[in-house]
């Protein structure tokens, strides 16, 4: 068990290494002078020089990588080219909106999608199944921001049920916090529900064909018992795997949703950085989100051992 845990953690290191190498090389290998790329077309020589020193671009490339990675390991994500503030400080206050939306989305999606997938698989081939599958294709196909604006139009502008945009911290009271979270969460949940429902259905269909499900039926236990105790527990591994791999999708979705709903989260920070060509911030955001992705998937790897006794070594 401990060996398995250590092995999973060790396996995550090269993944993060590749991510770090990728963002590092992306800037250096893009054709042209990195400093000029970052500074834009009408930069003064002083500005260029400042960027060069700031990123250590005058050093040989392996020394650049070494100093950069050492700083990174000490938790130094660098400074913004625009505001000159340490990026870590810029991220701090931005976390609450992003984490709130992401967490709410995960909870809502699982609560909605898993039952949908189970029912679709159970009623395989009926209109319920087709309806769920249709919904899931729709969820994959309609862009997040289109869903977002449609929901705003209906529930905020026409019906006045919830505010149009914006964010209130939970410290300002749960009511205002919650009502501004509803639309972004629903918007973002569409694609995640589609993903999880589809995988739950597929995995349940596989499992329902297994011999032990037939054994369970032959024992004369009720259909709910067969579905939940025997089928769903065995179908869970692919489902939580897709929850993990879909996390990258979720992060992409958070970036877009924050733009639609004007949430001051890390997604907005990233988009603003793109518009201002603030590459160190973009780089830090990639490292941060990839780190979260890897950590989530590590947790999911560990969850396997709880779900499937065969993985315990």
């Amino acid at each position: 068990m401990l060996g398995y845990l250590l092995r999973r953690i060790l396996a995550a290191i090269p993944v993060m290494g590749v991510v770090a190498l990728f963002v590092f090389l992306l800037l250096r290998l893009t054709p042209g002078d990195p400093a000029a790329i970052l500074a834009g077309d009408n930069a003064t020589p002083e500005q260029l020089e400042r960027i060069r020193t700031s990123l250590g671009l005058n050093e040989p490339i392996y020394i650049q990588f070494y100093t950069w990675i050492v700083k990174l390991l000490h938790g130094d994500l660098g400074v913004s080219l625009i505001s000159n503030k340490p990026i870590l400080e810029m991220i701090g206050p931005r976390l609450e909106p992003s984490i709130s939306v992401a967490l709410a989305t995960i909870i809502l999606s699982i609560v909605v999608a898993v039952p949908l997938g189970v029912i679709a698989a159970w009623k395989h081939g009926t209109w319920i199944d087709r309806f769920v599958m249709g919904l899931s294709v729709l969820g994959f196909s309609v862009p997040v921001f289109v869903i977002g604006y449609v929901l705003i139009q209906i529930f905020a502008i026409n019906l006045h049920w919830v505010p149009v945009q914006g964010f209130r911290s939970i410290s300002a009271g749960f009511g205002p916090f919650f009502e501004r979270l509803i639309l972004p969460t629903c918007t973002l949940s569409f694609i995640y529900v589609a993903l999880i429902a589809r995988m739950t259905r597929a995995s349940m269909l596989d499992v329902l064909g297994e011999d032990y499900v037939r054994t369970a039926r032959a024992k004369g236990i009720g259909e709910t018992g067969v579905l939940l105790r025997h089928a769903l527990r065995n179908a869970a591994v692919p489902v939580i795997t897709v929850i993990g791999s879909g996390f990258a999708l979720l992060i992409s979705g958070v970036v877009v949703t924050e733009s639609v709903f004007n949430l001051p989260g890390i997604g907005r920070l990233t988009v603003d950085a793109v518009l201002a060509r603030d590459y160190p911030v973009i780089q830090a955001m990639i490292l941060l989100t990839s780190g979260i992705y890897v950590a989530v998937n590590l947790l999911i790897d560990l969850a396997y051992t709880l779900l499937d006794p065969r993985i315990r070594y």
Partner: protein, 295 residues
């Protein structure tokens, strides 16, 4: 040890690979999707004939006009005809979708085949693929575009890169399964060379899943391009793309929601059609896959 007599009906029969276009009309829904996609493709090709106005022509006097006989869908904040821009916008979406699909399939196939067969390449390649997959696709694309400037080529590259690992992993898993098959071992024992085994016994297994995967990549690429444009990280704003039209519409959303509604609708229909055709192709190519549809 499987000793039992295998009942023939339970044996999955893999027939020689053959995809007939008949699957495109298998059900009414798929037929509608096919028609929609064909119409959108025709619209893109014939854009100069169909568009009533020049999509780039600025007319400050005509800002944010509502729909009228002259401007069927009204005008945008620069007085450009929205309908014409939408018609031209189909071009970019389709070119990007197709281009990204072809590129990522080609590169992914190569990586997947090689890593499926050589263990040492596999170890390195799969770590790289894991790393790429850990980066959210939008962020990766944003980084590439923001560094190398926004042109249709960089956007295409930016969208292709995050799709490669998915294709490579798919191909690799097909190859790894197939190489355990006794018919591959039989080929080894009759002295077939490695390239011959790959080409003749392993490659064909990847074609069906790749056709399906290419439709998903295509749909996802169209979507990503729109998101990039929408965020302001895509092709330059004056170029008519569906994402750009919507990005401009953001500021005027409460005044003129149709700026987001119409391109959004077309975009959704295009992606939906491609996805539905992909599902139909999967069902037609491999009835067994009907049940298992992890993307």
């Amino acid at each position: 040890m499987a000793i039992d007599t295998l009942p023939e009906s339970s044996i999955p029969v893999t027939r020689p690979f053959r995809l007939r276009l008949g699957f495109l009309t298998a059900t009414p829904i798929i037929a509608v999707a096919t028609i929609c996609l064909v119409l959108i493709i025709l619209m893109a090709i014939c854009a100069p004939l169909l568009a009533p106005h020049d999509p780039l022509l600025l007319a400050p006097a005509q800002r944010l006009k509502p729909a009228s006989a002259q401007f069927l869908l009204g005008t945008d904040a620069f007085g450009r005809d929205v309908l014409s821009r939408i018609i031209y916008g189909a071009r970019i979406s389709l070119v990007i979708g197709l281009g990204a699909a072809v590129c990522s399939i080609a590169i992914g196939l190569l990586i997947g085949l090689v890593s499926g067969f050589f263990r040492w390449v596999d170890a390195v390649m799969m770590r790289i693929m894991d790393g790429l997959m850990a980066i959210p696709a939008i962020l990766l694309a944003i980084a590439v575009v923001s560094l190398s400037g926004a042109s249709i080529w960089t956007v295409m590259i930016a969208i292709t890169i995050p799709e490669i690992p998915r294709v490579a992993r798919l191909v690799r898993s097909v190859v790894l399964t197939a190489r355990e098959e006794p018919y591959v071992e039989a080929a080894i024992s009759v002295g077939s060379s490695l390239p011959k085994i790959m080409w003749r016994h392993l490659m064909p297994n990847t074609i069906a899943p790749l056709i399906v995967q290419s439709t998903y990549v295509c749909a996802s690429a169209i979507l990503t391009e729109a998101i990039l444009s929408f965020l302001g990280a895509g092709i330059s704003p004056e170029t008519p793309t569906w994402g750009n039209i919507m990005a401009e519409g953001r500021a005027y959303f409460q005044v003129k929601p149709s700026l987001i509604f119409w391109p959004g609708l077309l975009l959704s229909i295009a992606i939906l059609s491609v996805n539905l055709i992909g599902d139909a192709a999967r069902d037609a190519l491999d009835p067994r896959m009907k049940q298992r549809e992890g993307k």
